[in-house]
Amino acid sequence: MAEKIKGKGVIAGIAVGNILLAGQNLDSFLVAYKPGKPDAEKKKAAAAIMAVAENLKKSIEDFTAQGLKEQAGILEAHRLLVEDPSISEAVDTQIDISGSAPKAVLDAYEANAKIFEAMEDEYFRGRAVDMRDVGKRIAKYLLGIKEPEIVGKVIVAGKDIEPSVIAGLPTDKIAGVILGVGSTTAHAVIIAKTRAIPTVVGVGDGIAKIADGDPVILDGETGEILIRPSDEERDSYNDKIKKQEELKAHYAQLKDKPAITLDGKEVELVANIGSPADADAAVKNFGATGVGLFRSEFVFMGKTDVPKEEDQFKEYKAAVEYCASVTHGEGLCVIRTMDIGGDKPLPYIQVGKEENPFLGYRAIRISLQRKDLFMPQLKAILRAGVYGKAAIMFPMVINVQEFLAAKEFVEDAKRELAAEGQKYSDSVQVGIMVETPAAAVMAPALAKYVDFFSIGTNDLVQYTLAVDRGNAQISYLYNHFNPAVLRLIKRTIESANKEGKWAGMCGEMASDPNAAIILMAMGIKELSMSAPSIPRVKERIRNITLTKAKEILDKVMEMEDGDKIKDYLATLG
């Protein structure tokens, strides 16, 4: 019988695979470790350091050969930390104290990590993570814990998983994700969503029951996880897997059909993506006709310096090309400029401590003050526009002045590109995310200047209702059908249409089939969502008329209770 643990299923689907533990705890191994004489331990430590440096060298060569310069650069810095002459001395000293080579290695790097953590400079503080990472690598070698080799499909598990861990693994290798923490908005979960990877969060201490390499079955709907299942248990899941396959097949035949109502009203269903590879999967597997939100944060995260224009250009160009490839060049790729703030500080963006980062120095507020960050990004998008259809979208805008200032930067970027003799597209659309109540209220004015609006409901709901959706005690108040929210959305869409501009949506609400029909009735042109949600929404739109949807909308707008609206719409589906 398998051991069972349970969490909250957040991305549906059954996954079968072996566990790959992220952020492994070494304590039990350290206790079990039997050290030899100090001299022998010192020799072992020295040999481990050499071996780990050799392994890193090989990985660096591989990354370099594949053109993955960033990864190679990070590992190169790690290699130097491994071979650092001051470390071998510190390790020897620690062995004289504790007698154990792996413990000495961990202690030596920990001591350095502490020094860096105490530094003024935010960048240096961040490097403490690298030191602990390196120390752990060598200690694992000494303890005989092998670096996981990815054979077949893996289920990545950890108390909290760094987004870079999931982003760094090839998509086709990750069958599932298990998180100890409960957040459904953790970055790891957002990435998993764009790739339709079955995910369970909030298993808490259950994570300790799973060991590296354990075979598990994970149900992303019920949140159940079976560790080391028996053959019978595997069989019982085969039925579920079969049903999953059938639904998949039904959705697959919808892939190339348009999202069009019975009376001929078409809505564009496009994808939210975090990397160009997501765009490829979205158009090929789920029939997205473009990208409504390219979160450019991943271009910025995991970097030690401001990402270069050339590197950004390559990423954007790839996504723009994928969109153009499926739709005879008509597929639009909307790239959102950097949306980062104090909640996720970066070495090259000094935000400092803030009481409330979500109401702080972030997104467009940083971009407008940091020409060195903003210009390379704008130039890279304008250049990518040559390869298809690109659009620039500014996040967190609250007034007309911010938009006009940002637009002026776009014009400057064009002038710079022209002076440099670079090819760029002059027809790149420029619009904003409507995610603050201020922008929604001022939509009639903003609509005169922008090319488009894209409603970001995650933040719009949060800011409008003053509800932190991560707070379990008040999460019942978080509802995108709240009448106040619906009025702001309707106002935004109508304002755009009145000025001959278009409005779309890129928040989670867009992936709710019940919301899709009323949004369509309000006059929305495009719905952007994590690609795996596209078939569900498409199915709903293809089975209703616009006339009926408008009737439903009229009824909904008369209702005063968001929960009742939600229930009412659910009865129709």
Binding site: D84, S86, N112
Partner: protein, 88 residues
């Protein structure tokens, strides 16, 4: 023993990438190489020691090498610092 004094000019100072480049270069010489700055002297072949000095833009540093290729070492490392590690 050979010495040379110069000033860090690249805008982000010696953080990880420049420190990596610097240590790789220093390690390619047989001589013992040290950096003196802010009243401290550290091994120039140790990325930890160099990074822990927090060498920001405008810091004056002295490069000291002692060994068979000390002249070449000091000249090459000074050039690296003066060229801002290929940044900017």
């Amino acid at each position: 023993m050979t010495e040379a004094t110069t000033t860090i000019e690249n805008k982000t100072g010696i953080h990880a990438r420049p420190a990596s480049v610097f240590v790789q270069k220093a390690s390619s010489f047989k001589s013992k190489v040290q950096i003196k700055a802010k009243g401290k002297t550290v091994d120039a072949k140790s990325i930890l020691m160099i990074m822990s000095m927090g060498l920001t833009k405008g810091t004056e540093i002295t490069l000291v090498a002692d060994g068979p290729d000390e002249k070449e070492a000091v000249a090459a490392l000074k050039k690296l610092v003066d060229d801002k590690f290929g940044e900017d």
